[in-house]
Structure formats: C-alpha cells, structure tokens
C-alpha cells in the first residue's frame, strides 16, 4: 500500500511487462475508423463476390437409401442383416442410441453415460422389422416377420449368421437378390423384401423418425446409411476420411473447415488414431488447449511468448524506430504516483 496526494491509501503492485501496460502519453494521429470500415467492407464484398463467381460452392447430391441400395444392393443387404441381428455399428453403439455398447471413456470418466439414451434406436425393429411391417398386401413378408419374432434368440442368431456369411457372395440380377442356398429361416425373405423396399424409395420415408406429417430428424436414415460401406467409400474418394484429414475437408477442392486443422491433427497421431476412445481423447486435448488459449493472460511463461518471439517489434516497428530516434527521452512514460 502507498498513499496518494490526498493522503488516501491506494493499492500498488509491481509492473509486470507481460501483464501490464503503461498508459500512453505519446502522440495521437488522425485515424478515420468510419472510412476504414467502409473501405474494408467494399474490399470484402468484392473479394467474396470474386471468389463466389470464380469457384462457386459444392453441392454434391446426398445419398439416399434408394440410391445406396440401387448402386450397391449387396452392401445394403449385408448392412440390413447386421441391423437385424444387432451387430451393426449403430446396434452396438451405446448412448445416446441404446445401451448395447461401451461408450468412450477417459479412465473412469464416461460422459456419454451421464445423460444416457436420448435417441433410442432398436435397429432390428426401427430399420428392418418396423418398416417391413408397413408393407401392404404382402402376407409372405408379414408371415416372415411373425416367424422371426416368434423364434428364440439363438435361432434368430443362427439364421442371421448363416445369411450374413452367404450374402457376402450374393449377386443381384433381374431385380432380385440371389443368395446361395442355405438355412436362413425367414431372414432371406425379410432382407430380400427390405432390399426391394429400399430400391423403390419407400424405405427412405419409413425410416424418418417423426411420427407426424412434418419431420426434420434424419437420425435413423443417416445412421443406417453410415453403417454401410457405400457412404464411406464415396467419402474416401472425396478425401473426406478421418485419416485423410477429412474432418476439415469438404467435397471438391474447397477449403472446407480449415479452422479445424488442429482438431483434425490429433486424429492423425497416437493415441487417438489407434484408440477406441480416440474421439473423447481428442476432445479432452482440445478442451485443455482451448482453455490455455483463453487463459493465456493469466499463465506465467505462456503469456511471455509474445515478448520472447519479438514479433511485436515487426508490428510496431515505426513506434520503436521513433523511440530509438528519441533516445531515452520517452522514459517519461513510466506512470508516477
């Protein structure tokens, strides 16, 4: 503590060059903020307009269940089988879709469990049996659904396992899925009907989550499509896969979300690129780094990097030239009591 000229006590503290800044008592120069703003706005508008005219923007058509099952019916049939027997990615995902999988964790911390299942998905019912049960005038399919649902879990497993193995060698000709003969119970009928329904476009509508006329939630069709290989193969061709720095890319040769480069970087290196907990590990790293960036003014050492780098000498080179011309006369800038 010290006292001011009126005898009042006042707080003092040591000046720290990376934390404090002395009040400016030097020269002021005209600076037309309004003019700068207008010029910058014109430059930005012209630049953006030029880039838009020259390069446009990408708009690759979305994949639909219809387009997927038409382009690659075998991949579709394989995926539908895994949805039916509960071995697909979504079926074994865990929260927030179901409780069938192990959520990602860091040590004992499993954040996905905190809020639990919020978008419940039973892949067998929601992706296969439910949509098929909406097919009108198709007693064969309805009987297959009943037979499948009435069977024991072991029997269901035996049918789907056999079919899953066989469908890998299936072909598609004359509008039909041709699978080598075997004991698949009702599964062959179910998957063939599901494939036909998908190719007709009816499955796209049946998968929409909404039970009302208007719907905007595409969670179910998106997860179903993403369980297959077709979407991933298209993405890979467009350099969008995780190991291609895909998180910051977009289709075509557009810059994409370049600002996510650091986030994407962690997916390219251990531990995230090999760990089953990679996503949460990357999030944890980014949370720490972001906190460091936001709190850098309070972190000794980190807040000294700008001074050590001396890049500020480049930014304020005119100022320092002026200071050097004036010699030590500017020492008057030291605040006094």
């Amino acid at each position: 503590m010290s006292a001011d000229t009126n005898g009042r006590s006042t707080k003092v503290r040591k000046f720290k060059v990376d934390r404090d800044a002395a009040p400016w008592h030097g020269r002021y120069a005209p600076y037309d903020l309004a003019k700068e703003f207008l010029v910058a706005l014109v430059v930005v508008v012209v630049l953006v307009g030029g880039l838009a005219v020259l390069f446009g923007s990408p708009d690759d058509k979305p994949v639909t269940v219809k387009s997927w099952s038409t382009a690659n019916p075998i991949d579709f049939a394989q995926t539908a089988t895994t949805e039916l027997d509960g071995t697909s990615g979504t079926a074994g995902y865990g929260p927030p879709y179901n409780l069938n999988g192990t959520a990602q964790s860091i040590g004992p911390i499993i954040p996905a469990k905190w809020l639990g299942v919020h978008h419940p998905i039973d892949t067998a019912q929601d992706f296969v049996l439910g949509p098929l049960s909406t097919l009108p005038d198709n007693p064969e399919v309805q009987a297959a659904i009943t037979e499948y649902q009435s069977a024991s879990a072991t029997q269901q497993q035996a049918w789907t396992a056999a079919y899953e193995k066989a469908v890998a060698n299936a072909t598609y000709s004359d509008g039909k899925l041709v699978v080598p003969k075997g004991d698949y119970g009702p599964v062959a009928t179910l998957i063939a009907a599901e494939t036909s329904m998908a190719r007709s476009g009816a499955l796209d509508g049946a998968l929409l989550s909404s039970r009302q006329f208007y719907g905007t939630d595409y969670t179910k069709p998106l997860l179903f499509i993403a369980d297959g290989q077709y979407l991933a193969n298209l993405a890979d061709n467009q350099h969008l896969s995780g190991d291609q720095w895909g998180m910051m890319n977009e289709t075509g040769s557009y810059p994409g979300q370049a600002w996510l480069w650091l986030y994407t970087l962690w997916y390219q290196v251990p531990p995230a690129n090999t760990s089953s907990n990679g996503d949460i590990q990357v999030f944890a790293i980014m949370i720490v780094l972001t906190a460091l960036l936001a709190l850098v003014p309070f972190i000794p050492g980190l807040r000294s990097i700008p001074r050590w780098s001396r890049l500020y000498r480049l930014i304020w080179r005119e100022h320092y030239r002026e200071v050097e011309r004036d010699g030590g006369a500017r020492a008057a800038a030291v605040p006094t009591g």
Partner: protein, 241 residues
Amino acid sequence: MTIVDPKPARPDQADLDKAAGRPEDAAQWTAKIRETAVEALPPQKLLPDRQPAYVASWIYVFGVTTICALLVVIATGLVLAIMGPNWWHVSSTGLFVNSLHLWSVEVFFFAMVVHLWGKFFMAAWRGRRQATWITGVVCFLVSVGAAFTGYLSQQNFDSQWISTQAKDGINSTGAGAIFNVTNFGQMIMWHITLLPLCVLALVGIHVLMVRLRGVVPPFPAKGEVPEGTEVPAANATEVEA
C-alpha cells in the same frame, strides 16, 4: 394555395436538457444507466477520430475486416433464410448466394485467425484487457460452432458425411444427448438463430471492450517502465490489480 408543413426543427440543446439530466431525476435507474454508460464510453472514446501513433500497422485492418466479413455472412445468410433451405439446391441464383455465404465465411475465419494471432503476438491482454482477449477467443469458438452447424444444414453429401462422423465426437462428450448433429431441424435452428445471435453479441461486447480500454500499447522499450516498478492503481487504471 399550397400549404407546406414546415420541417420540424431538431431539438436544440436547451430542449434536450429539459428532457434529461435534471438533478431531481438523478436517482432514476434510467438516469444512472445513462450516466454510467456516458462516463465509461463518452462519444469521443466510443468513436474516436484519433488513435495513438503506434496504431500504424496492417495487422490492425484484420479486426475490422472480420466484422465486415461477418456482415456479409449475416446478409447472405438472411437471403438464404428468407428463401428457405431448399432454394439454393434448385436455383442458380440461390447457389450463387450460397457461394457468397460460403466464401464470406472463409474470409471471416481467415481475417479472424490473423487478427487473433496478431493480438497474441502483441500480448493484447496487457493493461486490464484480459476480458477483451477472452471474449475474442470465445467468439472464435462460437463462430466455429456456427460454421459447423452450417455445414450440417446443407442437406447434401457433405452434411451427411460430416454429421455421421461428427456424431462420434459429440456423443463421446455426452453432449449428443441434447445436441443431435443428425437432426437437421435442430442443427439449422442453431445455425440461423442461437449461434449467430451469440456471435453478434460477443462481437459487440468485444468491440465495446476495445473502445473502453483502448488499443494495447507496445511493450515498453528499453528504459521505459522497468519490470518491477511500483504502479499506483489510482492514476494508472490500466495496471490496477
């Protein structure tokens, strides 16, 4: 005969004084808010026509460039919102507006990142400007979220792929329970209302803070303010603890 209504005269200072600032009204909340605001940011400080002589570098342009790009983002986004989410997929004019929107976002982030790193290497948090720095960083983060939800709202292959990949990251944090990246309706609402409002509010607060504290001065040159000098808070508010 034509009767022309005289243009109403602008109130002169005497009239304004009658309407505000009377001593008997000083206890009013309105009066207190006005007095506090004017005291903190008088017009000369809010919109100065002079700056310290050290404000003379191209790096200072990137702050205002960020704001200008944000205005173009908002303007083009408004056109897209007015015409609806399907418009740009079926209209060449719509596609062009979408291209303007995309490239203004790219320019916005480019300018913002240069501005951020420029301010980092100027240690622009010095002199009680920590909150200015933090609002800038938070603004960047919220902008990343706004752009991300924009990519999710495109209704094309990009948004399909991005949403189905990003869900794993979001779900791993537990946030997927309430922030469902595969729900188009939820994402577009975040993109066109919540997040832009947050960005605009944060930019507004950030700019007001810059005006309140002024542009950070250079590091002291040799001989100026040696490290460890005792600084009285009373007349050097920039260095108060």
